[in-house]
């Protein structure tokens, strides 16, 4: 696997192969060099050793954590608990160090931090590897649990981290020449190279490329997966130690915002999501590229409202640069377009070719008769797969409702309870269709928060309390959502940018537009009719509940009974197979992202009606839940499997759980832990079957 293994090949071709193999990392390094050059050229003084030293410590936490994330992703996994581990290690260190003690052992505390991280990794690894549960939902539950535990350890910023740690981690390895953070990262990378050369390293890439084949040739998949999460946990733990050294104190929220940029760093560094390709070296460059953006924005004096737009653009450009090659999607699309143009000039369009029948001649089977003869299997047999994955959510929902009745009273026989449950579920139910369809194709839509935000803000601004204005405001907002979705889909399909990076960038750009449009103060408010729709009561029922019934029926039909739905499942089950079966993959994917954006816009409109006005950041709390409900409802995060009714069950379950917790007076930390545990328990039934 490693380029060292190629040393026996002649030098020239060996070099070329090494270049090809490490293209992602090399291009990321080049982009970083260009950014450094720009900062150096523009800023007042030349880059001194001090600058380099400071930059190196600035990106070190995300680089270390992102190395762990890369290893998980290489094995085909996904880890959402990374940010929470960093926070936990930070507060554990800050709350247990004694300010009175004369010195602190750097080695001991580092070991403690890494140990905490590895323990969490073992927890993740147990559920993912041994119990064969989906990484995204296990690590999401872990994230909630850890956030609760972190707040129990330390409920507000404070504490003390010995300056000895800071002196060690932020100091110089060789005075004036080599800053310590780079040495730390270097050591981790060296450990990685050693690991990669071992049998374990080979097994890791094999599991990430194709777990079934790896198992077939005798790789112990369970052990490899378990070890991966433990190693990754150690990396997050080290990142937590580093940020503790850097800040000299504890803050229970310090690690959480690192999560999304960590994924961006991995992708910008040339590692493919889904596993099997790339490596931590590129990731380190990716992490530093993302941190350099801060300096670039400063030296270019980009004004605050534009900063997220600039950041999103840089992210897309970096991803594009990383994919420059003869084989990249963009290049292939350009070649195809050129070929089409040339053909058009020459007058030989495919439609004008004389076609020869090339299909395989298969004698037509007598399937018509056979079908008549065989009885139609019973409902539960035909839908066994869907039932197996959708039912657990509903069973858990039932349990939660009963617990609510016993604990708080006034649930089962209280129509108000059911109405509230359905109204509060309606937002996620709509989002679940969009996000769920994207996930069915194997993608992910991270632009949901600000698609919701900008839709609500523009709608409120246009409507401004007038029912008549809804007539044109609704179409305008929905059309805008179509354009947003089209942009996402276009970038993913035609520019070959990974869905996570593309939609993350779109999210930032939309945030900038929302700020510019509203000048920071969203104007306008919902019209009476929209508010009536979301908050009034016809008897016991809020009007939006009736719409939800229709929406659910349409959603089920759309995914289950239309050609569009079948194409979505086809793409999720195998892109190449789908393409070869004649599915217009490009068009379908673009439509999928447009559907997701439209769903998000509808949620923005509904939230505006529900709250009476729109506010900046109104969509922020809907991103992770929108992914969680889809997975809790039995969908596979890598695509191809899932049913809308299952996702709906996930929505109802999580909403009912939140209502139960909100009705108690438990402290927030305990609620977070309970929430995580229940989600984990609910998906226990969704375990993958033992491979035969």
């Amino acid at each position: 696997m490693s380029s060292a293994a190629l040393s026996h090949v002649s030098a020239g071709s060996g070099l070329r192969r090494a270049l090809t193999r490490n293209r992602g990392a090399l291009i990321a390094a080049a982009v970083l060099a260009i950014l450094l050059f720009i900062v150096d050229a523009i800023s007042a003084g030349p880059l001194t050793y001090f600058d380099v030293s400071f930059l190196s410590s600035g990106g070190a936490t995300s680089a270390l954590a992102a190395i762990g994330q890369t290893i998980v992703i290489l094995s085909g996994g996904f880890d959402l608990s990374a940010g929470a581990v960093i926070s936990l290690v930070n507060v554990v260190l800050a709350s247990s160090m004694d300010p009175m003690a004369s010195g602190a052992s750097v080695f001991l505390w580092t070991a403690a931090g890494i140990g905490v991280g590895m323990a969490v990794g073992a927890f993740n690894g147990f559920f993912i590897a041994v119990l064969r549960m989906q990484p995204i939902v296990v690590t999401l539950s872990t994230m909630f649990i850890l956030q609760g535990v972190t707040l129990l350890v330390m409920d507000k910023p404070g504490g003390f981290v010995s300056p000895d740690l800071g002196t060690f981690y932020l100091g110089d390895a060789i005075t004036g020449w080599l800053p310590m953070p780079l040495v730390v990262i270097g050591v981790v990378l060296l450990a990685w190279f050693w690991l990669k050369g071992t049998r374990f390293g080979t097994a890791l890439y094999a599991v990430g490329s194709d777990a079934d084949s790896a198992a077939a040739v005798g790789v112990n998949v369970v052990l490899v997966r378990f070890a991966v999460y433990v190693i990754a946990g150690g990396c997050y733990g080290l990142a937590g130690v580093f940020i503790s050294a850097q800040t000299g104190s504890g803050d229970p929220l310090v690690g959480n915002p690192l999560l999304l940029s960590m994924f961006a760093a991995v992708v910008v560094g040339g590692t493919r999501l889904g596993g099997g390709q790339g490596g931590p070296v590129g990731t380190v460059f990716g992490a530093y590229i993302l941190m350099m953006v801060v300096n670039i924005l400063l030296v270019l004096n980009v004004s605050a409202y534009y900063s997220t737009i600039a950041e999103g653009t840089i992210l897309v450009l970096a991803a594009l640069a990383g994919s420059i090659s003869h084989a990249s999607v963009l290049a292939v699309q350009l070649r195809a377009a050129r070929a089409r143009l040339a053909a058009w000039r020459a007058g030989i369009l495919p439609s004008q070719l004389e076609r020869v029948e090339r299909r395989l001649k298969i004698s037509s089977p007598a399937h018509g008769q056979r079908n008549l003869a065989a009885p139609r299997p019973a409902f539960h047999l035909r839908n066994a797969e869907a039932l197996r994955y959708a039912l657990p959510a509903y069973v858990c929902l039932l349990v939660i409702v009963i617990v609510t009745q016993v604990w708080l009273g006034r649930a089962i026989f209280n129509p108000g309870y059911w109405n509230s449950l359905l109204v509060l579920s309606s937002f996620l139910a709509v989002l679940a269709l969009g996000q769920g369809t994207v996930i069915l194709t194997g993608g992910l839509d991270l632009s949901v928060p600000w698609t919701i935000g900008i839709s609500g803000i523009i709608l409120a601004g246009m409507v401004n309390g007038s029912d008549a204005a809804l007539l044109y405001a609704l179409p305008v907002v929905l059309l805008m959502a179509c354009a947003i979705g089209f942009a996402n889909g276009f970038g993913i399909v035609y520019l070959g940018i990974s869905p996570i990076v593309m939609t993350l960038a779109t999210n930032g750009i939309l945030q900038g537009f929302a700020l510019l449009y509203s000048q920071g103060t969203p104007a306008g408010f919902s019209s009476p009719m929209l508010r009536w729709f979301m908050t009034a009561k016809l008897g016991f029922v809020t009007p939006v509940v009736l719409l939800m019934v229709i929406f659910v029926i349409i959603a089920v039909l759309l995914l289950g009974r239309t050609p569009f739905g079948r194409r979505v499942y086809g793409i999720g089950n195998g892109l190449r197979a789908a393409r070869l079966s004649g599915i217009g993959v490009e068009r379908t994917l673009i439509l999928v992202y447009m559907l997701s954006a439209v769903c998000a816009a509808v949620v923005g409109i509904m939230l505006t009606g529900f709250s009476g006005q729109a506010s900046l950041g109104m969509g922020d709390d809907y991103l992770l839940p929108s992914i969680a409900v889809v997975v809790v409802g039995g969908a596979l995060i890598t695509g191809g499997r899932g049913h809308y009714l299952g996702m709906l069950g996930g929505v109802l379950l999580l909403t009912a759980l939140q209502m139960l917790l909100a009705g108690t007076t438990l402290p927030y930390a305990t609620r977070a832990i309970l929430y995580g545990l229940v989600v984990l328990g609910a998906v226990m039934a969704l375990r993958e079957r033992q491979p035969q």
Binding site: I38, A41, I42, S43, D51, F54, L55, G58, G59, T61, S62, L151, D155, K156, P157, G166, I243, Q246, T247, G248, G250, D251, L253, N256, P257, L258, S261, M291, V294, N295, L297, L298, L300, V302, A304, Y305, I324, L408, R410, Y417, S420, L424, G453, N464, Q519, G520, T521, P522, G524, F525, A536, F610, G612, Q613, S615, L616, G617, M659, G663, T665
Partner: protein
């Protein structure tokens, strides 16, 4: 290879463009170079505070003294650390910060102070002793509002508490102080508690969840860091009359302030629930002018004036006895005692109305809305 060439050419072009920037910066050499490092700009409070800082910097008394650059770090402490350092390297004389964390920035702030840079934190606190802090007393905010609510309820009743962002010092100080007050009255029971994230939208979903298993009639009062406007709207939707609204101790949103005006008051642009209801309220806020004031103090500090390390802002408290509608919202008018703005001027009820300080005659309503200073 062609692409590499293009990239190089682009970099060159960028370099040239920046030379142009550089020259304009050189012309402004006599101005004080001040940076503003915001944490996050995606919510109403932050955007309003940013507008007021901008207005302050462009006021005629400041415009030829100050060269202000505003940067956003997002919610990520690590990025703010790097940003502050880059600002120091870029030759800042003062840095005004909305700190992501009260403790995580200590090292970099100390480093900046050692280089002679004045560091001002607004709204939230930086615990490093060399930093200047401009904020309200959060414990006082929690205590005063809780005491008001207890008095309204005559020391007896069921209340719902909606807190802020868990894990932040501001939320912790306010909530603990309030709970200490409630604990003194055994007949006051907190029957529901929710995390409101300082957002009207979140307050609504959380209250809806609580009320799914409860009834408005079982509740006697509300203590909310943000959300009284929403709570009042929800009570109206549930069929309560304006005269039956529960006492609510909470935020200084303009919607909440308008609701405090006596029912039937003529207000331009009012439409229920953003209308006068005579709602029993105490309204307080972390005032969004604190960033602008910090900037003003930073300039004074650079000019050698003596500025105290800690500026505790007076807690802006408005009750039904002191509520008064502004006509235009100029600073002079606010000084005369008005504290709520017509919906025709401020269409967003979630907008924060505590924008008056007698120390900042440079900024009025237009500063908060569109970044325009007073004359």
């Amino acid at each position: 290879m062609g692409i590499g060439l293009k990239v190089r050419r682009l970099a060159l072009l960028a370099g040239m463009a920046v030379c142009a920037f550089g020259m304009s910066a050189a012309e402004a050499a006599e101005k004080h170079k001040i940076f503003l490092s915001m944490s996050f700009i995606g919510n109403d409070w932050q955007a309003e505070a940013a507008n007021m800082v901008k207005a302050m910097a462009s006021h005629k008394s400041m415009a030829d003294k100050v060269d202000l650059q505003v940067q956003v770090a997002g919610p990520n402490a690590q990025r703010q650390i790097q940003q502050i350092n880059a600002m120091v390297q870029a030759g800042a004389e003062a840095i005004v910060i909305f700190p992501v964390s009260p403790t995580a920035l200590n090292q970099v702030v100390k480093n900046a102070c050692e280089k002679g840079v004045k560091v001002f934190a607004y709204d939230a606190e930086i615990t490093e002793p060399c930093a200047y802090n401009v904020h309200i007393d959060q414990e006082e905010a929690g205590r005063v509002t809780a005491e008001w609510l207890v008095k309204k309820l005559n020391g007896k009743g069921n209340i719902i508490a909606v807190t802020g962002v868990p894990g932040t010092s501001v939320d912790d100080l306010r909530t603990k102080a309030a709970k200490e007050v409630f604990a003194k009255y055994p007949d006051i029971k907190i029957v529901g508690e929710a995390v409101g994230m300082w957002s009207q939208a979140v307050a609504r979903t959380e209250l809806s969840k609580i009320l799914a298993t409860r009834n408005w009639n079982d509740i006697n009062g509300l203590w909310m860091q943000v959300g009284c406007f929403t709570a009042n709207s929800m009570q109206l939707e549930a069929g309560k009359k304006a005269s039956e609204l529960l006492p609510c101790a909470g935020e200084g949103s303009n919607g909440g302030r308008i609701q405090m005006l006596p029912e039937g008051t003529e207000v331009e642009g009012a439409a229920s629930p953003y209308a006068p209801l005579g709602a029993p309220r105490i309204s307080y806020a972390s005032p969004p002018y604190s960033g602008a004031l910090a900037l003003k103090l930073a300039v004074e500090a650079i000019e050698g004036k003596d500025v105290p390390k800690k500026t505790i802002l007076p807690l802006p408290v408005v009750t039904n006895e002191t509520i008064k509608l502004c006509n235009e919202g100029t600073w002079a008018e606010m000084k005369a005692g008005c504290n709520a703005f017509k919906p025709s001027l401020v269409s967003n009820p979630g907008w924060f109305a505590s924008i008056f300080s007698d120390q900042t005659p440079e900024i009025g309503l237009n500063a908060a809305l569109v970044g325009q200073p007073e004359n």
